[in-house]
Symmetry: C2
Subunit: 195 residues, 2 copies
Amino acid sequence: MTASDVNKVSNTLPLGRNCLLVVAHPRLDRSAVNAPLVETAQASGLIEIHDLYETYPDYQIDIASEQARLLSHEVIGLQFPLFWYSIPALLKEWFDLVWLHGFAYGGTSPKLSGKRLFCAVSTGGDSASYAPGGHNGYSVEEFLRPLERTAALCRMEWLPPHILHDAPQLRGPRLAEAREGYRTYLNSALERHHA
Amino acid sequence: MTASDVNKVSNTLPLGRNCLLVVAHPRLDRSAVNAPLVETAQASGLIEIHDLYETYPDYQIDIASEQARLLSHEVIGLQFPLFWYSIPALLKEWFDLVWLHGFAYGGTSPKLSGKRLFCAVSTGGDSASYAPGGHNGYSVEEFLRPLERTAALCRMEWLPPHILHDAPQLRGPRLAEAREGYRTYLNSALERHHA
């Protein structure tokens, strides 16, 4: 798919690009931040929410169905808490099983090329800890290199991630502010012509 | 555990430190490189091989058993093919479920502190591709930052990884050379006083 093909597709959409938000949180019902953020995404009316742990409690991922779901969206978002500086296991399984050679990469026309990929990440630490010399040593962006390069290998457009630190501490007005920030981020990610 | 405690423990071992090698390859029987490398590790007589995909085909990890296994070894090795620039999903599940707060990290005496952690990684690309400007953009070490910081958070000693590029191309004399290189690496990783 060439850049001009991508533009043709997006021009048929009246309200911006259609988006799939893959949510990966093993206990979304008990999450203080990810559940409200999912509500925020849902309220946009433009985003299909796909809760991986709810859909596949037995980890038996339906590969064909997942590939079809990816093909039918232009923007793919991944929302998850950072577990061991990386994505939760079921989200990794989803990549390992669904993003296959000949589908996501390889050959002359990988099928996700031209789509956008973004991450919406929550962490339990503060932003100062995700830096050289800080408790976690590296930025979240550096920990996300595997996903950044996954996008590159699949010829997707990688958007800068949305990062929410201090997730367990976000309550009341701070949570409301976080939701508003996410709404703004999502609007930007779905814009037809991204800045 | 202080550094002097660690030395006391290791001094009771006549043949170097005892090692658990956690192997994570979903099709080890069909692997051209990881299966021979496992044989090399096994031949040392010092290393307990723990094949995750064989042990848990249903992904139902026995947390207590895995924690006991970790506690009974001083060197923890992870051998895996790089999938999407990261560890295979079941290995991630093992971290997410077994390396819990109060066990692996947090509190005044995380139970894995002082142990060594190493990775033995195979990739399908050549070494030049894992560099700035190369096809994969970053080094394998950079893609392993999440594991490096996992070791740091758990107060473990992180060893430089063993990396085998071009895994599908390793045959005959090149495979024999790779096995010999792995044997040398493992000997060094198990040495009582690491260089």
